[in-house]
């Protein structure tokens, strides 16, 4: 089954539990321009009342895009990421992702439609912690061009 409206509502995961690493959070934060504060410095994070380094606001994409990649690993769906453009992104945070958190992502197909010969896919990625509490939710819209039609 390719990416069609029949996929709407389909749930993938939860995927494997991932323990968030402080050094990785800091490297991500630096790559988007944070140079000081709780996203890169554990002492600053503790001084601000957090248990450890916290994630930059868009870090959850590292977790949720992997969930979306489940669709590319499903041989029946066969989503080819080399033909995908990221068109929309939204995050809603409940609490900061914090170093040491063990998180899982459950991915739900929210919308599939056709637009000018392309397929437009919206997936929701729900990030939950080890207590099964929602930490963050991401909505990603991808435009998928038909294979063999470059440009």
């Amino acid at each position: 089954m390719p990416v069609t409206a029949e996929l709407i509502g389909r749930v993938f995961g939860p995927g494997p539990a991932v323990t968030v690493d402080a050094a990785h959070l800091a490297a991500f934060a630096r790559s988007v321009g944070y140079h000081e504060g709780p996203t890169v410095d554990a002492a600053a994070a503790r001084a601000a009342g957090f248990a450890d380094i916290i994630a930059a606001p868009t870090y959850a994409i590292v977790l949720t895009l992997d969930g979306a990649a489940e669709l590319s690993r499903d041989p029946e769906i066969g989503l080819d990421f080399s033909h995908v453009v990221h068109s929309d992104q939204r995050f809603e945070h409940v609490r900061p992702i914090t170093a040491g958190d063990t998180l899982t992502v459950t991915t739900t197909v929210r919308d599939v439609k056709s637009l000018a010969g392309n397929t437009v896919l919206t997936v929701q990625g729900e990030v939950r912690d080890g207590s099964d509490q929602n930490v963050c939710t991401s909505w990603t819209t991808l435009v998928i061009r038909p294979v063999g039609q470059e440009s």
Binding site: A27, V32, P38, A56, T58, H86, D88, H93, P96, W139
Partner: protein, 140 residues
């Protein structure tokens, strides 16, 4: 930090994105799509050269807004539409970077919670690269 007020502006930030920044973001995020790293692959899909990850532009926008509100955790939501590619020239070009300009403005404040709605403007070569870009922040 003082509460945000309607009409308050986050001054324009100028960001120079270099190829090395794209490599750093690819390594940190795990998004190693070659259209962000390899001119040949970018050309194959009809781009004039390697382009910045949309999430790199969004990440800078989120940082700038969160810094204005008092830190990373003040930012409770952010949504954007990626409208145009940001083409990043090689280091040896003049200039060897793409210049992003990001600014923001508070459009609403919830009197009870202090939560501010903030409209974000991001341009590259004078053209919008993030549309419908909006964040909500609770000032620290």
């Amino acid at each position: 930090m003082a509460p945000l007020t309607v009409g308050q502006e986050v001054p324009e930030h100028v960001i120079h994105l270099r190829r090395a920044d794209l490599r750093d973001y690819a390594a940190a995020s795990g998004d190693r799509n070659p259209i962000h790293l390899d001119d040949d692959v970018a050309a194959e899909v009809g781009l004039p050269g390697v382009i910045a990850h949309g999430m790199l532009t969004m990440g800078h926008a989120a940082r700038i807004v969160s810094d204005a509100a008092g830190g990373a955790w003040t930012l409770r939501s952010i949504s954007v539409r990626f409208t145009r590619p940001v083409v990043v020239p090689p280091q040896h070009d003049d200039p060897g970077y793409a210049e992003l300009r990001i600014r923001a403005k508070v459009t609403a404040v919830d009197e009870t919670t202090g939560e501010a709605t903030i409209a974000i403007t991001a341009t590259f070569n004078g053209q919008t690269v993030l549309a419908r870009a909006e964040a909500r922040a609770v000032p620290a």
